[in-house]
Assembly symmetry: D2
Homo-oligomer: 341 residues x 4
């Protein structure tokens, strides 16, 4: 941590800052510049608690140097983590694909979707049983019945199941039925939920919040890991910006950034990332070329009849085309050694 | 709802859209423009469910005309709502002030703060017992002990207590101790929590999400009201933008916008809105002049020793100055009839 | 400037950074932390040119401490600047008001507007003769004829004239007719234009760019001042965010921030800032309460017939109401000593 | 255009709107909904001028349906445009690469860079002679001398030259030396400059503004094309968001969006888009996989000594690696028919 003093800070102001640092058992180093002094803090910053230097007289601002997350950080764990979901791996060079409808609407719809998903070569079936919706009057999901259909679809196809959990009370139930629990963008800083899924014993897919920085996202992963669950998969799904043509702005560079900052695998969701099915294919290819560890895509047997997110859902036909391209491209990237640092 | 067709949409595409509308018992009106056709939907749109016109062949985009919230809307309830918190009113022309430390740190700190808050003329004591923090290693609050201290401070001063609830499991407990339950910005779309506080029997202070639109915010209020709780107070606390000088960008115009769209009272939090105590005073005055129904401000007996949010906390001395100015300004605005539509 | 090294930076990496600093005649101070080293640079940073430490091996990132603008900075000029426009002052405690139509459309329209503007108590007539429009097919302004009408309106009413200049070639002409030259939001980083208006001998109204940080805005002022023109008036007019209900998000806190960082006067434009005439009055009051040095507002004799920006233009009737309120409020703020640091 | 009336609009309000539409020789169609009426406008909207329906009594809002740009639109020109730069094609399936230093610093630096750029297989040499810089005290470029060096480097290598023009006065000069004129992000809505380069007879590389929507960007292209210059190449270079880890947020989805909305070629600049050289390679690959028509990348013979933008410049070694990967990937995408609608 570096503390930047005002140009007109007094000697007394500076001494008071130094005192706070030294009282915490740390060392202060003062640099006298031409017009400003800055004070560096040497030692384990957590011993400072939340000492609010910014509020002290004569302090202009403070700059944090070390990151606040550790378990999620690549410094702490230099090699890539590979998450093993009952034999299916996420991370490690071969992209995993999670596909399926936005919401589980009926057994027939889900089974039809699952068969298509499986046949085209994905490893995971996605589908929401608990749907977080902006309006209380929108379809909220089939809840436990939806979970049962997902489990039956797993029996039928061998696909692993990933589905969202939105409330603490449902974590145990969702963990019973699903292979991977998804924490959605709107809950990325629902810290109670993060702690609970940190104890559930299943891998967690952590979507980036609508307006979350990379630092906040990795700190959210830290909440889960700090409860003893190391199996966190990050999912970039677009951030909120001023551009309204797309539903969100897919931050493709997050793939490269996360690979630098963290050892956790990262996948990309081009369906929510763009909100338009026409853009899913090019963005899926881009994600693979950028080095993503997988994709999450919405596919509906009949998007025009979907109860939610129809505009961004692929038809079975387009989905198969995307999957074929993704498979070829992923193999090419690997064979040509175009990935990795 | 208006559906905009592609310039090259076929007659068949158009008929299919019309069929979906009519199957729902609604009326479709087609307008033939120079190069494009648009189709209007007449009738109660909720009967359409989530019919995903966007995903249908030939559809360029859709535009929603009617709002998705009703209970929170001024159309539904033309006169201003005034929330009565055990005799203290929020809304109706005299601004209410909620002040106190970011977090309850100790009985001594809280009592000292409460005495200052009371003496300078506020009606509510704020203080966090459950703190949502970006990092799992930051101070997370005193939890139930903090709630007890708040209740004791109410006994001592007569101030009403407003405090945040972050998880469904704690709603009952917080509702037992507090007069107003706060739902924080990070939980604005934690729909499970919104439903739960909708049943708790106490007024709710609903902070705007970090990147929430006005429409999403009013829909979040709708979740609470739809459970039978009409007592929702909105709180603008700054939104996330590209500007980094301030912690958030305080959207002062939200005061005027909410007054137009909704009947619910709206207060402003210039402490979180700016992140800098120096800016609290001018932004508090601006909020009152804009017609806000109240203020929430952070004040700490000793900001330089605060365990959280020190940089944005007022000292007792500055707090008293702000309160004196707010009182004068509020009286002036009322006497001169400068508020209201 | 502080240079933060990677945790795994070598001794050689550190020495190379120190060499670059010392070759520029400056002093390097190394702080050895628990897991990271940081290097402070002591001396006049401009001697470093653009030495790109970020690109050097072992460097994680750099942090700038001193500001890049000087003439616009309050450190350089501690007392408030008051701009004298031919006897009318901007800054110094009494808000100045600039009002008029978005665009000069005809002599009749302008004269009618000018008379209303004058009568209600403003000091400046605004009106665009050169209009920067998103589409090449929108009305682009009357150009020199518009300037002549503005000069005639000045003769008629005694109001000072403020109008926008969009291209270098027109600076001389606009400076001939106008009292204050406006540089619009879209040209805030049109550096050629900034330099040219820096030589024109008239005060400049510099609008904040659509997505400009405070730092970039003050640097744009620096471009003008660096050419010898100290008379820069800043104008906050809303920034671009994800919120679409308002045309822009009016950053009211910029008033307080600019007062802290700079000595230049700052006014607020609630018309562009919100895009809705209904919101102009509350935001005008808020700006005055926040300490703004003035207002710019759009008023049109008949907004429903305006050739541009009708939705955000006040009618004469609403304008008079806003002006009356502003006058009372400004007097109140001054008499009660509610402004200033 | 669709005009949405307030729920409480009177019959008179509606008639007045209809009158405005019909006076312009257009047809109004009224749809009576359950609680709201909407009015559709049939015919050539440009005949309405800027009739400000939003400002009329009883009007809630208006929605534009047709796009304001025509020449740049795919509706107007369904097949992809291919820009021919003296025999080198941009668009049409084989990505073009523009590489070189941010700024021309000296003849030696430029020649060294040009040789490396050429040898690794790019078609264009980039390098700034006129540099738009945030601070007036930063290096502003070598101006005409820089242009001469660029022309000499073209002689030496056969590379085409692309360089930025920042002011109207320099357009003729830059057009004399360069093969492609770049309009930078900060000038994307400098309409005077857009019109001037529309008359210069050379292809234009139009960078997306820092906070420009796709609609504004395509309208900026329209300004150039409307002056008779059809040869516009769009360049996505990152937009401004709340995320600060990267210099900008590269909007990769703009590639797919522009391909849908327009016939113009679009290239991607991962150097400015991320601000970090480490992220250039993955983002370059992603752009190619997304279907971009080319890349612009910063490469400096010695980034640690660059006078600007060192942190985002590739070393020659990394540049060669990226170029080899791009070539392979582009050939793969084409051979496997993974591109195109």
């Amino acid at each position: 941590m570096v503390i930047i003093m005002n140009p007109d800070a007094s000697r007394e102001n500076i001494n008071e800052v130094i005192n706070v640092i030294e009282r915490a058992g740390l060392t202060a180093k003062v640099m006298e510049g031409a017009s400003q002094r800055i004070i560096g803090v040497i030692g384990d910053k957590t011993r400072l608690g939340a000492a609010p230097f910014d509020a002290m007289d004569g302090v202009e601002s403070t700059v944090n140097i070390s990151k606040s997350y550790k378990l999620a950080s690549r410094e702490f764990h230099p090699t890539d983590s590979v998450i093993d979901v009952d034999g299916v791996k996420i991370g490690g060079g071969t992209p995993a694909v999670m596909a399926g409808p936005c919401a589980v609407e009926s057994k027939e719809q889900l089974f039809e979707a699952a068969d298509i998903v499986k046949e085209a070569g994905a490893q995971f079936l996605r589908g929401g049983a608990y749907k977080p919706r902006t309006s209380p009057y929108s379809f909220q999901g089939l809840e436990e019945i939806g979970l049962k259909y997902l489990a039956e679809a797993r029996e039928r196809t061998g696909l692993k199941v990933v589905t969202e959990v939105t409330v603490v009370e449902a974590v145990e139930k969702v963990a019973y039925y699903a292979d991977v629990l998804q924490v959605g963008a709107r809950n990325m800083q629902n810290f109670g939920l993060l702690k609970e899924v940190g104890k559930c014993g299943k891998p967690i897919l952590l979507k980036r919040g609508l307006a979350a920085t990379l630092d906040e996202w990795l700190n959210a992963a830290e909440y889960i890991m700090n409860e003893g669950n190391p199996d966190v998969i990050l999912c970039e799904r677009g951030i909120r910006t001023y551009e309204t043509y797309t539903r969100n702005t897919l931050d493709m560079s997050a793939v490269a950034a996360v690979k630098h900052l963290s050892h956790l695998p990262i996948i990309v969701d081009p369906s929510h990332g763009t909100g338009k099915w026409r853009m899913v294919r090019p963005m899926a290819y881009a994600a693979i070329a950028a080095g993503a560890d997988g994709l999450m895509m919405e596919m509906h047997p009949n998007p025009a009849k979907a109860l939610s997110d129809g505009p961004q859902s692929l038809t079975p036909e387009h989905y198969r085309e995307v999957m074929a391209g993704v498979a070829k491209l992923a193999a090419f990237m690997k064979n040509e050694h175009l990935l990795g640092a």
